[in-house]
Assembly symmetry: C2
């Protein structure tokens, strides 16, 4: 029995999220459909993270098992060819792509063996709405105070009960304690000179909508609606309503999954 670990990249705009649902176009559904064709048997994939509708991935991971003859490297090329539009797909680019496929031990599981993840969240901070990036960034029109956001972010790093950053509706978790290894805010500019903020957050696990609520809280700090120094109290309170708004899905990217604790802490 082969066990294959995929790295996957997708633009989440036209997907109803990762998880397979009847009658909807989902990332898991598309992958299973295409891999079942390529492997000539029914394939079920286990993804690391169940990204929501509109959320993107640069380095989602998924593993699947089966007895199939096709070599692992050929499998990726064949699947990507179908994903890009099939037969006449030279030069065509789809919204979902496998970027690596490798054989892993039979007991390896893409989700249960993950030690942590990195997400990035992209904010465009300019007065004028930008239509071309509407599905790829969170556009905040009022000026954001990046220093206040960095000050607030510093309180989030560490091991805490993050219940205040958990949305209702996710699966039941045994504990809401998580460790955030780093939370950085990088200021930049687009090609045309607009201000951008790139949040990078690494942690051992994330509660439902946690990155989006953290981002919304930092944006509220950047807008002066939340005093950065109250972050410890907000976390301590464990009350969702004391934290900030939930930032929209289109700015969020699952950037990397870590299977080695050292990579997670050091890189």
């Amino acid at each position: 029995m082969k066990n294959i670990l995929l790295t996957i990249e997708y633009d989440g705009t036209s997907f109803a999220g990762w998880q397979k649902q009847p009658e909807k176009r989902t990332v898991q559904g598309e992958l299973e459909r295409v891999l079942s064709i390529v492997c000539n048997c029914s394939i079920q994939v286990n993804g690391t993270s169940r990204t929501d509708a509109g959320v993107h991935a640069l380095g989602q991971r998924a593993s699947f098992k089966g007895d199939f003859g096709i070599p692992t490297d050929r499998l990726m090329l064949a699947a990507n060819n179908i994903l890009a539009g099939g037969m006449n797909s030279i030069g065509k680019i789809g919204d979902l792509r496998i970027t690596s496929a490798k054989d892993v031990p039979e007991n390896f599981h893409a989700r249960f063996d993950a030690k942590g993840k990195k997400y990035v969240y992209k904010i465009l901070n300019c007065q004028e709405t930008q239509i071309f990036s509407r599905n790829l960034v969170y556009q905040v029109r009022k000026n954001l105070d990046a220093e206040a956001m960095k000050q607030a972010a510093a309180y989030i790093v560490g091991t805490h009960d993050f219940k205040c950053f958990q949305a209702a509706g996710g699966e039941e978790k045994k504990t809401t304690v998580r460790t955030i290894y780093s939370l950085n805010i990088n200021e930049g500019k687009t090609e045309t000179g607009q201000k951008t903020l790139l949040l990078e957050v690494k942690g051992d696990g994330f509660l439902y909508n946690m990155v989006r609520i953290i981002t919304g809280t930092l944006v509220d700090a950047g807008l002066g609606k939340i005093n950065p120094e109250t972050l410890p109290e907000i976390i301590e309170s464990k009350e969702r309503q004391r934290a900030g708004h939930t930032a929209p899905p289109q700015g969020l990217y699952l950037a990397k999954v870590y299977y080695n604790l050292e990579d997670l802490i050091c890189l």
Copy 2:
């Protein structure tokens, strides 16, 4: 009778082009639908340029006439509100937007009074396919020789019979002679360091698919498939098959429409 001139911006990805067609989502169709609601009467707009499916606009123009009470500035806000998704559209961003609306003399016509246009064409030149910009740039994976492209471009500037750059299927034109005032190629880099080429072309008019065929010809020169010094012969031949390939629609942006000849030549 009012006559209003609009400036319009759109992401052409989800439109079947400018021109109204039954059962299809077109820019003209969407604009007329929304303006008819806002003006409370049936509106027909005259666009400057009939952009193809997948082609974008930063500064398309369109004019329309009618006897309606709504002030011109309110009209733009109301139309944009509906275009962004209506009632609960705060913060939502659509793929079509009016960026200016002004009253013009009753005999003014957005198309017939245009003295010329500027198009830009965006090329991403990097080996690795980029899924997130797939609808917004032409991705050329083999290395492009920008100097060869600039050398070829220089032969295109001026007044010529450009029949070699005309695709079949457009409307019949009286003459295929046009003046290209400038054709510049600007090299740049994306935020993540990939090479970009931005073509900017200004002319008094363009034949069907002319900018896309010029771009394809310059790309072929950049790939070494066409010798830049043969451009005068290619133009002279008036044969479409001697020019290069037709570059895809997604890299093309109608950037500006000129109603003043001096602006066209000097700016």
